[in-house]
Symmetry: C2
Subunit: 545 residues, 2 copies
C-alpha cells in the first residue's frame, strides 16, 4: 500500500481555495500511484478558524467541501480533517473530525478526543470530545485514524488528559497510525514532535504517518515537517520545513524501517524561515503585495527590512528614514547603506518641522513643563503618522519593528513605533535579534556592521541609550524568559542570582504594560510563549504590578 | 440560621485588597448576627484572573488568602470561591473551588463542575472538572455548595453539559443551595439569572442564595444583583446593581417565601450605570483619576464625556476640541456648550497647521495623487497625537469614543480616533448611542439637542456625511446585530428582508476590518457579544471577506 502525505498551506475560511489545492494534490498523489492521500487537521477550513466555527453556515460550507472531496475519492482514498456537526443534542455543537473518503463516499469519521486549551489553543471552546474509537479498514489494512493531540497522551502519561485514544484503538490491531495534525511552529516544536512520534511507534510497534500544515495564518506559523516513523524507532522521513510538498511512501518499506531522514535544524535558520513565511503569507492571504516600514538606523528595523525584502522582494518593501534633531549622523548613513544593500526603494522625510508644529500647538498647554516622555512619544507618533499616510495612500501594509524585550517592558510608543499591521520580531528577545542579524550576515555584510555593533538607542532625546533606563539586554532577556516562558515567580528568579530590586522592577514593568500589548499588532509566534492569543493577561490586574 | 451575602467589588490579583475587603465584610456580617457570610466565585483573586492562574506563585498567594480567612472564621462561617491546586497529577493543575471555612479551619472544599468556555470564558483552559459532590453540614443544616455555572444545567437539559451537580447533590437532602458566582453583566443577563435561579428552586424545592461580584475588571462588568429565591418560586430579594452590599437573610423567612423584591430594570439605565461603573473601576483599579478625550461636536464623544464626568467628576475630565478646515461651525459651538453644561475643563487646539505641515512633508511623495483616505486619516491621527501628548504630559488616560457600528465596519482611523486606553461605547450600536443620549436628556438638556439631531459626520472632508458611505444606521445596526449577536448567515439575514448586495457588503466590511479591532482598546461589554475577548476572529480569514 502506498500512502501520500500532502503537506499544504491552507487559508482560513477560503473553502474554494483549500478545495482546489486538495484536488490538485489528489491528482499529484494519483500520479505517484498512492492508494491514500492524507491532508492535515481542519484542512477544509484552515487552522485556527476560531469563532468562525460558531457560524452554522461556516460548518455547512466545510461539510460541502468534504462532500466534493468524497466525489473525487475515486481510485484513491482521501483522509482529511474537518469540523463536523455533533449529530446529538447533548454536548457541544461540533466535533473536530478526521474523515476517510473512498469510492465516492464518506466511509468513516473519527472524532478528536484530546482538545487542547492551553497557549494559543481553544479547542474545547468549540468541540465535543470523542467517546468512540474504531479503526478504518481499507484494502486489507486496518488504519488507526487520529487527530493531532490524540497521539500526545502516550500510555496516558500526559497529566492534562485522562484518555489515550491509541490505547483504545490498539485492541483492534491497526496496521499503522495516520495522524492529521495542526502543530504550530516554535523553535523547539520540531524536536517535541519527533519525541512524541517516536514514543508512539515505540509503544505501539506500527508505522506512523503524521501530516502537518505549512504556512502562516496571521501570527500562527506552521512549519510542516510532516513525519513518517517506522517501527524500529526511526524517522523514516521528515518532509521539508515551511513549504508545500506531496510525497508518497510505501507502507512495506516504512514497516521494514532502517532509514533515517531528518531535516537540518538550527534555531536561527528556523526562526529566519518562519518569519519570512509569516510575512509572505500575511500579505499573500490578505491580497497585499507591498510593505512599508520606518528604518531608524537601529538593529530592529534593519532586521525587519531584510526579512520583508526576502519575503516580498526588495522592490516591494518601501523604507522610510525619518530623522529628527535627535538622530545621530550615523543613523541616516547606516540606514541608507542597508537600503542600498537590499535594493529596496527608500525615502527620507525629516520630522523636525512636524514635531515643531506640534510643539507650537501645545505650547500654551505645556507651558512651564519639562521635556519628558510626552515630547519623546510625539516624535515616534509623528513617524507613525507619516508611515500610515504613505500606507493609506499607496496600499503598503506597515510592518511593526518592535522586539520582545521592549514590548515586554513597555519600552515603545503606543501609536508610534508600535504601529503596524504585523509585528515581525515581537517574539524575538533583543539578544535573539542580534543573533539573527549575525546569522543573516554569516556570509556577507548585508546588515551594515555598525548597525549591529553600536549601542542601542531610541534617539528620542540627546545622547539617549537603552541602557539609561534598562539593564543590559543579557540580564533583561534572561529575567524576561524565566518570567514569560517559564512562568517563574519573582522569588524563583531571584534565586537564580538576580538582584531582587531589578527582578521586581522588570516584572512590574511587564505587568503594568499589558495595556500597550493589548493594542499591538499580531506577533509572529516563534517561541513557546509569544505575546498575543497564547498569553491572556488582565489589564487592571494588580499581581506583581 | 442567618445567611449574609457579601456582594463586593474585587480587584484581580490584589490579594491584600481583596482580603481586607472580605475581613471587613465578615465583621459587618457578624454585626448583622449572621451565621454564615458568603463571597463570590474566585473572590481571593478577582474574576477573570486569566493566565495569572498559570503562575504557581499566584495560586499560592490565593491559598494563603484562604488560610487567613479561615483564621477569621470564628463565631461565623465563611464561604468563598478561590482557585486551588489539584492534589493529584492527573488532569489540569487546578480546580475552581468553593471553600467552607468555620471554627478557624477549612471544613469543606467543593470543586466546580461545569466550566464555561464560550464567549469571554476560558475556564477549561485552567481548571479540572469536579467528579464528587458532597453537602456541607453546619449548625444542623445541610448545604449544597455550588459554583456559578453548576446551577445552569437544570435537570441536565443544557446541551453544553452532561452532568448536573444539583441532581448529584439532591440525594443528600440539602436544606438550601449556596451558589458563588461571577456572572458578568449584559443588558439581558439579570433576566437570564432570574430564570435560572427560579428554575432551580422550582426543581429542587429549597431556598437558593446566589452571590455575585459587582464592579468592573477592565472590559468585564459585574452588576451584582445577588439573589435570594424561596421555594415558592419567588425572588425573595435581589441586591442592588453595580454597588457593594452586605445583607443578611433569615433562612426560615426565605423558606416561608411569600415575598418578591426585584430591582427596577430598564435597558438604558442598566447600560448607563454599567458604563459609569466600567470607567470608574478602570481608572480606580489602575490608580488613575483623570481622563482626557477629544470632543468633536458629534454624538459619540458627547456621550463619552457625560459618562466620564459622572464616573470621575467633571473636574477630572479634560475635553479637547480640535477643529480643522473641514469642521463645521456648529461642531465647536455644540462641543463647547456640552463642556459648559458638564462643567468639564476644555481646550481648543486647531489642527490645521499640523495637518499642513504633514502635507508639506508628504508633498514630494503624494505628488499627483487625489485627496483620499490618507488625508482624512492624517487629520484623525493628528488629533490622536495631540490627545496622547496631553495624556503623557499630565497623566490623563485617553478615552476612546468609537461606537460598535463604526468599529464593526471599520469606519474609524487606526491610531486616530481609535486611540484610547478604554473604549467606553464600543459595545453600543449607533442607534443605542442615540437612545442612551435621549435617556441622559430625559429630564433636562445635558447634551445639546443639536448634537443629537444633526446628521452624523466624520467631518474629514467637505460636506461629508456618514450616510455617504454607509446605509442608514437603523438598517446597518439591524444587519450587524443579526450577524454579530445572532451569528446568522448572509442568506438568513437576506431572508429577513435586506438587500443581498448590502448584506454582503456589510458582512465583508466586518470581516476585513478584524485587523483594526485587533489593535483596539478593551471595550466595556454591555451586550451578549462584544468585540474583544468574547469574539475571537482570524485576521487573514477569507470567510465572507
Amino acid at each position: 500500500m502506498k500512502i501520500a502525505i500532502a503537506q499544504l498551506n491552507f487559508h482560513i475560511g477560503n473553502f474554494e481555495g483549500n478545495l482546489s489545492k486538495m484536488l490538485a494534490a489528489v491528482e499529484e498523489a494519483k500520479s505517484q500511484s498512492a492508494d491514500i492521500v492524507c491532508f492535515a487537521e481542519l484542512a477544509t477550513v484552515g487552522y485556527p478558524p476560531r469563532d468562525f466555527l460558531e457560524f452554522e453556515d461556516f460548518i455547512e460550507l466545510a461539510e460541502a467541501t468534504v462532500d466534493k472531496l468524497a466525489e473525487a475519492a475515486q481510485g484513491i482514498a482521501i483522509v482529511l480533517g474537518s469540523p463536523t456537526k455533533n449529530p446529538v443534542l447533548e454536548g457541544k455543537d461540533h466535533y473536530n473530525a478526521a474523515y476517510f473518503l473512498a469510492d465516492g463516499k464518506i466511509q468513516h469519521v473519527q472524532y478528536k478526543t484530546l482538545l487542547p486549551t492551553y497557549d494559543i489553543f481553544d479547542e474545547y471552546r468549540y468541540f465535543e470530545m470523542a467517546t468512540e474509537w474504531n479503526v478504518v479498514e481499507y484494502k486489507g489494512k486496518r488504519i488507526a485514524l487520529t487527530v493531532c493531540e490524540d497521539i500526545w497522551n502516550i500510555g496516558n502519561e500526559n497529566p492534562l488528559y485522562t484518555i489515550s485514544p491509541m490505547d483504545e484503538l490498539m485492541p483492534q490491531q491497526p496496521d499503522f497510525i495516520l495522524n492529521v495534525s495542526a502543530s504550530p511552529f516554535s523553535y523547539v516544536q520540531a524536536q517535541a514532535r519527533h519525541q512524541v512520534v517516536l514514543a508512539n511507534v515505540e509503544r505501539y510497534g506500527i508505522p506512523l504517518f503524521y501530516v502537518n500544515h505549512c504556512g502562516a495564518q496571521t501570527e500562527i506559523i506552521f512549519d510542516g515537517g510532516s513525519l513518517v516513523a517506522s517501527p524500529d524507532g526511526k524517522i523514516f522521513d521528515e518532509m521539508p520545513y515551511f513549504e508545500e510538498c506531496v510525497r508518497t511512501y510505501d507502507l512495506e518499506e516504512v514497516q521494514q524501517g532502517g532509514r533515517e531522514q531528518r531535516q537540518p535544524r538550527e534555531k536561527m535558520q528556523l526562526i529566519h524561515d518562519a518569519l519570512v513565511t509569516g510575512i509572505r503569507d500575511y500579505f499573500g492571504k490578505l491580497g497585499f503585495g507591498r510593505a512599508i516600514l520606518g528604518l531608524s538606523g537601529g538593529i530592529d528595523s534593519a532586521l525587519v527590512a531584510v526579512l520583508a525584502a526576502r519575503a516580498l522582494g526588495p522592490a516591494n518593501v518601501r523604507l522610510v528614514l525619518m530623522p529628527s534633531q535627535f538622530s545621530s549622523a550615523h543613523s541616516v548613513t547606516d540606514a541608507r547603506k542597508l537600503a542600498e544593500n537590499l535594493g529596496c526603494p527608500y525615502d527620507i522625510i525629516p520630522i523636525e518641522d512636524i514635531y515643531n508644529t506640534y510643539m507650537q500647538a501645545l505650547r500654551p498647554h505645556f507651558w512651564a513643563t519639562e521635556f519628558n516622555i510626552a515630547e519623546e512619544n510625539l516624535q515616534s507618533r509623528a513617524r507613525g503618522n507619516l508611515l500610515m499616510a504613505l500606507s493609506n495612500k499607496f496600499g503598503n501594509i506597515l510592518l511593526n519593528t518592535s522586539n520582545k524585550s521592549e514590548v515586554a517592558v513597555g519600552y515603545g510608543t503606543l501609536y508610534g513605533d508600535m504601529c503596524g499591521g504585523l509585528s515581525v520580531i515581537g517574539d524575538l528577545y533583543k539578544t535573539e535579534v542580534f543573533e539573527l542579524c549575525r546569522y543573516i550576515n554569516r556570509e556577507e555584510e548585508i546588515i551594515p556592521d555598525n548597525i549591529i555593533t553600536k549601542p542601542p538607542s531610541a534617539e528620542l532625546k540627546p545622547d539617549q541609550l537603552d541602557t539609561d533606563s534598562l539593564p543590559s539586554y543579557d540580564d533583561l532577556d534572561e529575567i524576561l524568559f524565566q518570567y514569560i516562558e517559564r512562568r517563574l515567580s519573582p522569588q524563583d528568579i531571584i534565586e537564580r542570582g538576580y538582584d531582587e530590586k531589578l527582578v521586581r522592577r522588570i516584572l512590574r514593568l511587564v505587568n503594568i504594560n499589558e495595556f500597550k500589548r493589548h493594542q499591538m499588532a499580531p506577533v509572529l509566534r516563534v517561541s513557546e510563549k509569544a505575546f498575543g492569543m497564547g498569553r491572556r493577561m488582565p489589564i487592571v490586574g494588580k499581581y506583581l504590578a
